[in-house]
Symmetry: C2
Subunit: 101 residues, 2 copies
C-alpha cells in the first residue's frame, strides 16, 4: 500500500479520489502529513462528504509517526500524523450487480 | 452524549481523558472544532498514543458540520469539523476483573 503524502496545497478532490482508489484496490489507504494545516487538509479529504461521494463510507485511525524529510545529507526527523483509512464495509467483496436477461 | 469543543489551546491530555470518559460512559464521544489548528489539536488528542494510554483503541469518523458561534444577536454560521470517536472494541461490556479470594 502506498502512503499518500498530503500538504496544505494538495487538492481535496484528488486526495479523496486517491483514498477511494486505495480502498478499492488495497482495502485501505494511508495518509501521512506534517503540520497543522496539512492535518486539516487530510481530515477534510477524509470527511464523509468527499469520500462518500464515491459510495465509500470510511473511518480513520490517526497515529503519530516519525517522518524523515529533506535530502540525505540534510535529513531531519519530524513528528507527523499518519491516518489509516478503512472502509466501514468491505468494498472489495461487493457483489456484482445482477445480470438482467 | 455531550459534544466536546476543542480549540487550539485545549489541553491534549484533558481532551484524551474526556474522550476516554465519553467512550466508557456513552460508548462513543464527539468532538467539534472550527479552524485548522483546532482540527490538528483534536486529531492529536485522538491519535492512538494518547487515548490508547487509557487502554482504549479508537477510530474516528470526521464530517463537516455547520456550527453557530457568537451571542444570539451576532450569531454567525461557520463550517466546522465533527469527529465521531468510537472504540474498536466494546469497552462497556468489558468483564469485571475476577475477584481473588
Amino acid at each position: 500500500m502506498d502512503i499518500l503524502r498530503v500538504s496544505t496545497t494538495t487538492d481535496l478532490a484528488a486526495t479523496a479520489g486517491a483514498i477511494a482508489h486505495g480502498i478499492t484496490v488495497d482495502g485501505a489507504a494511508e495518509i501521512q502529513v506534517i503540520g497543522p494545516r496539512a492535518v486539516n487538509q487530510a481530515v477534510k479529504a477524509i470527511a464523509r462528504g468527499y469520500v462518500a461521494a464515491s459510495g465509500i463510507d470510511v473511518y480513520c485511525i490517526p497515529s503519530f509517526a516519525t517522518v524523515h524529510v529533506g535530502a540525505e545529507d540534510t535529513e531531519e526527523e519530524r513528528t507527523g500524523i499518519r491516518f489509516q483509512i478503512c472502509p466501514r464495509h468491505d468494498v472489495r467483496r461487493q457483489a456484482e450487480p445482477p445480470v438482467l436477461n
